[in-house]
Point group: C2
Amino acid sequence: MTATQETTISELDTARSRFREELVEAGLLVPSSVEGLYGRSGEFEDIVDTIDDHVKAAGAAEHGYSAPRFRFPPVFPREAFERTDYIASFPNLTGAINTFDGDNKAHAALLADRSDGKDWDHHLESAGTMLVSAACHPSYSMMTGTLPDEGRLLDIYGYCFRHEPAVDPARMQAFRMHEYVRVGTPDEAIAHRERWVGRGLQVLADLGLEAEAVIANDPFFGRAGRMLAANQRNENLKTELVVKLYGDLDDGTAVVSCNCHRDHFGHTFDIRTADGEPAHSACVGFGMERIALAMLRTHGLDRRRWPASLAV
Amino acid sequence: MTATQETTISELDTARSRFREELVEAGLLVPSSVEGLYGRSGEFEDIVDTIDDHVKAAGAAEHGYSAPRFRFPPVFPREAFERTDYIASFPNLTGAINTFDGDNKAHAALLADRSDGKDWDHHLESAGTMLVSAACHPSYSMMTGTLPDEGRLLDIYGYCFRHEPAVDPARMQAFRMHEYVRVGTPDEAIAHRERWVGRGLQVLADLGLEAEAVIANDPFFGRAGRMLAANQRNENLKTELVVKLYGDLDDGTAVVSCNCHRDHFGHTFDIRTADGEPAHSACVGFGMERIALAMLRTHGLDRRRWPASLAV
């Protein structure tokens, strides 16, 4: 690492930590004892709702009708999680849910360990569920089988979890994502991804944000992950819409993600198009908290002083 | 168990399972491979929003102003969870979150176990977080210290998790609760609980539901729990508003809960009133999915045929 890089990283950390302090002081976010977990104030939620109005309008304009809405809870079956191979690609972001399933005696043993200040996790076992890591993940298992001729379009909005504690308020462990998911032929999937790059940039422009579309990759884990990331970039499967929250101190924050999954979910969940081929899928995901933070960073923390079209 | 009881339980199971089938066939709920986890359709969400409009109106009418809103994610710090002693009282409902925090080599070992069809949970460790089991739980740690003279009133809405897989669609593992939480003197807490019994019954009546207030207890775990439950009933700390979803086959389903916590949270989180005493707290929690299901059961699955004031 060069001296310049060190300076920049330190300035970036300072900028992130100062932004977080400002958000907390303004009462927009409530901190907790864990990095990346915050309560949201009513005002913060109003901003999220304003953003969502724009997202919904863009969805209706893009597709010419209201896509069927599905709202999944933040927890989904481990059996579906297993099929996605997420534990192979993103083990470090995963949230597996454990619970206690024993009797009175086992419970007494748990409490004894706990009162001795010992770890009590070994008294728990898998609850058969996982935290949802992308809003669309719980939706694929409901499409197993043959799609209608025109494929499917879904409007999905829900909480996601990624275990990546960070000072940057824009890197939360729990956050909401609003997605439009297209499942159909390879061409339909590619077109969905492509069209939402432009449509997403328009949504951000309407919110007064300067955004840029960049070719990106998922943060695949470890050595093997580097190859997966390179492939994803080479095949141009992921485009992120990026807003600079911290000036030139970093490359910006991805607030929208446009992804083509090829036949990954079609193959995994046995979803077939009308002609019997494995379905392809694509999704656009709006990171609601990140867009809200980008707006607060761009327009200031006092919403009454925002541009008239976005103010309260 | 008598023959009559057996018949009744079997009839009850049939009634629950039939109601679930109807909800799935109508597209209101999307089943998953795990009991008690469902996707919600847009129409189901519209019903939840209608209910919430009534809850918010009741909150404004009861308190004369809009209580500050706080929205917490479905995951909160284990350190705060530990302080509540929830693992002692409700271990079987708990959701502890584990993640992978190892290196490439440890990940390879996890994947090797997985591909051999072996359990891979022992490669994970605590993520330092827990699933939220009551919407208000994440709020108490932010009140540590001395309250303002008038105490505090909070409007909290969020996802809750309880590990209790069941066929009954009204017993979900993940569901939303809208709460009004009062923290202040003993009298203020008791008055909050008492007043919301009547106010809650009115909300349910406005939604066309026949509800009844009954003295209740939490489902404390095991032998020791039976005493805690008896105490809670004797001290009249919990009142549930109950609607009969399955006629006389059971005692009805609790859709709203009015609770006085005494100084449990004040003591645990060191929250003091202006005069230095441990704060008392009380909350009313509206179970949004359960109320929606009660409405679907009462008014029918086709919302266009609902009473004019509640229809689309």
